[in-house]
Symmetry: C2
Subunit: 426 residues, 2 copies
């Protein structure tokens, strides 16, 4: 479903031949590890291994929340929230809280008192539920935010009523949050222990918020499964994930140091935040890796366009284009504004021409351009795109010679913060 | 008001002495150009040259919009909208459309049919007005979006009623939009012809939306004026703008290629988009310049933190910290979550300790760190910060040896797009 085009990558003619054997080795190594049950590779077969009972449990909880709540507060940080947030925007647009019920708010990425006070007030203004997403339950920011909302729930509904409105997505066995959920009788969902946070969108981490939003989660999984079957069985440079992983590594080896993921519609923009974590945390180690940045076109052409065209030549663009626009909108007639050449034309088509013009200008300016084409802004495409990016990232990190599933550098600051805050060591 | 700290810049001890004479020359050159009325330097004295009648005109229009509109659609792109959007978030938080009336929506940065259909429906659901912001009126995206909303206004209120709800911020004399406003009797506000888009926040471009949001625009200008007086009269490395411009150039000359502006509260995050345009478009030329990127802490520590700590050593951090939190919020007591060491503590203070820990970890990891301290999330601080960034950027571009006020690279793609769309050449 996902198509990839490296025509404008500005790479040497033979780059694919040079990359193919390395990609073949990376591909076999991933499959071998997944089949052997090696840690952190559970996502590779996840779209087909999802338990139907679990899916029904997710749907039932979502129905309950849709019935009894005007808002759902999803509390998580990093991989525990970026994927669900991406899905909400992808399927319902950036104004989803103004247009849909229940309103779904994301929290856990800040302890800012004003932002949290505002969100507590928004939640308290109607009936609400909480989905706390944390593998261990020990991460400082979401745990603190959860304590605030749990206290509010208990004040509003009493301890028994609150317990019915808390949904914990966490490790199936271990950890503080699992223990609290057991003790208090909260509804729980497992994060499989062999799937890391940034690869977990297609588990209950992402699926529960999507289902609460009314999305067809079976269609999300079906899209991912179709993409998985296509990609895992194709051992050639026609494999979109091979080609993306290979091209970005070839550009990196040619001296490019920043990948700019370009969103071409507002519904996709939030997915760039999830993508930044996926690639940045998987590859940004041992003093290497492409810096992951994002921009939105056409808006940012009036902001970053100058730098892209004429600035330090360190970056390449990866443009995500959506084939089937969600709506039809033609420019009406009007006078005096010099736009008569556009009257009656579809704005989706105008956007395509803008993107074509930008591609010409930027590649003439020496900026390599990769293109990812997604069929539509629907559930199946979202699932397929998530799988495509996860596989591309795992292959790409393997090519780069790093472990794409760990994040050792994150421990350094956590240790310092724990010392400064006087956190007891466990 | 704005304080700057380069203690952790990881620069050689004598960097300030080396930069000071270059900064002195850049400072004098800017002042000379502004006093001589050279093109694009009008912003340098703008905080004191603002006409009181114009300010009252802005306030009167804002009162009218607040009286007769549930929504205001601000249509602009790049410098015509990023500053106002930054101000709204800075002063009212990221959820401002859920919490304040009139709701202020920004449009003009996309022609996406679904996003525009949604926004047209949101606008049409109540009374609304439009502020079209475009120096020429000829920029493709905002002009097209304006045509859509103007058509909707005329359908809803008739041509006469629509004309009373259109506010055009544009060139004082020239251009398509000025001519249309004259012909149709729209209320207009001038963008001074000697101030470029990205330096125009403190003109009606930014001030009208701020006033509609209920902000004290005189306080914004007073904050900017105070900062201007302090910075223009201080010819030393104690000048915060000298020091910021000098440090980022010294880091650039040491091989750093990306500046990561770190937002430490959700209200500041939108300002990083304005900052990216300001610096990226001013300096990203002639094959040089720092790539401007942004992140939010603590959230993005769980996303980009790994890359910052251990990835390709091309970046430095510029952290913006707000001294006075807007609210007080203490962590309540609860059991089982392992957070008892935080019970009763202010979350603003906890955030400060997280930022302190991150600073230690990242500088130990060799990542240079610059610190900007802002007094509060209020009007005076916003005005001061805008002025500080504009002056720092103009000095910094001058140090780099480029013209910080042009954007020649943007023309390349515009030409291609015009060809592809069959736009008549004028």
């Amino acid at each position: 479903m996902i198509r990839f085009d490296s025509t404008h990558a500005l790479l040497q003619a033979n780059w694919q031949q040079a990359m193919a054997p390395r990609l073949a080795a990376a591909h076999e190594s991933l499959l071998f590890d997944a089949d052997a049950g090696v840690n952190a590779t559970g996502w590779l077969r996840q779209p087909e291994s999802m338990d139907l009972r679990l899916l029904n449990h997710v749907r039932a909880a979502a129905r309950q929340i849709r019935d009894d709540s005007e808002s759902l507060i999803v509390i998580g940080v990093g991989g525990s929230s970026l994927g669900a947030r991406a899905a909400l925007h992808f399927l319902q647009g950036p104004h989803h809280t103004l247009r849909h019920r229940p309103r779904i708010f994301f929290a856990g990425d800040t302890l800012d008192p004003a932002a949290l006070t505002e969100l507590l007030e928004l939640a308290a203004s109607g009936d609400f539920s909480v989905n706390i997403v944390s593998k261990s339950g020990a991460t400082l920011e979401p745990a603190s935010v959860f304590r605030l909302f749990r206290t509010l729930l208990e004040k509003k509904y009493g301890p028994g009523g609150a317990a019915k409105r808390i949904y914990a997505t966490t490790d199936p066995e271990k950890g503080l949050l699992r223990a609290m959920a057991r003790e208090n009788g909260w509804t729980t969902f497992p994060v499989p222990s062999d799937i890391g946070g940034r690869y977990s969108v297609l588990t209950p981490v992402g699926l529960l918020p999507m289902a609460v939003a009314g999305a067809d989660v079976a269609a999300v999984l079906a899209g991912a499964r179709e993409e998985m079957e296509k990609l895992l069985s194709n051992r050639s440079m026609n494999n979109a994930a091979w080609c993306y992983a290979g091209a970005r590594n070839a550009l990196y080896e040619n001296g490019r140091r920043t990948e700019l993921l370009i969103s071409t519609c507002p519904s996709f923009a939030a997915m760039t935040d999830w993508w930044k974590q996926l690639f940045g945390e998987s590859e940004g180690k041992e003093g290497g890796g492409l810096f992951p940045a994002a921009a939105s076109f056409p808006g940012d052409l009036h902001s970053l366009g100058q730098f892209i065209q004429d600035g330090t030549p360190l970056l390449f663009e990866t443009v995500v284009r959506i084939d089937r626009p969600l709506a039809s909108l033609k420019l009406p007639a009007a006078s005096g504004d010099g736009l008569d050449f556009l009257t009656g034309r579809e704005l989706g088509e105008v956007t395509e021409r803008i993107l074509d013009g930008v591609l010409l200008a930027h590649t003439e300016g020496g900026v390599p351009n990769l293109l990812i084409r997604v069929p539509a802004l629907d559930e199946a495409s979202f699932g397929a795109l998530v799988y495509f990016f996860c596989l591309s990232c795992a292959l790409s990190g393997t090519l780069q010679g790093v472990n794409p599933f760990d994040q050792p550098g994150v421990e350094t600051y956590k240790k310092k913060v724990s010392e400064l805050l006087g956190r007891p060591t466990s």
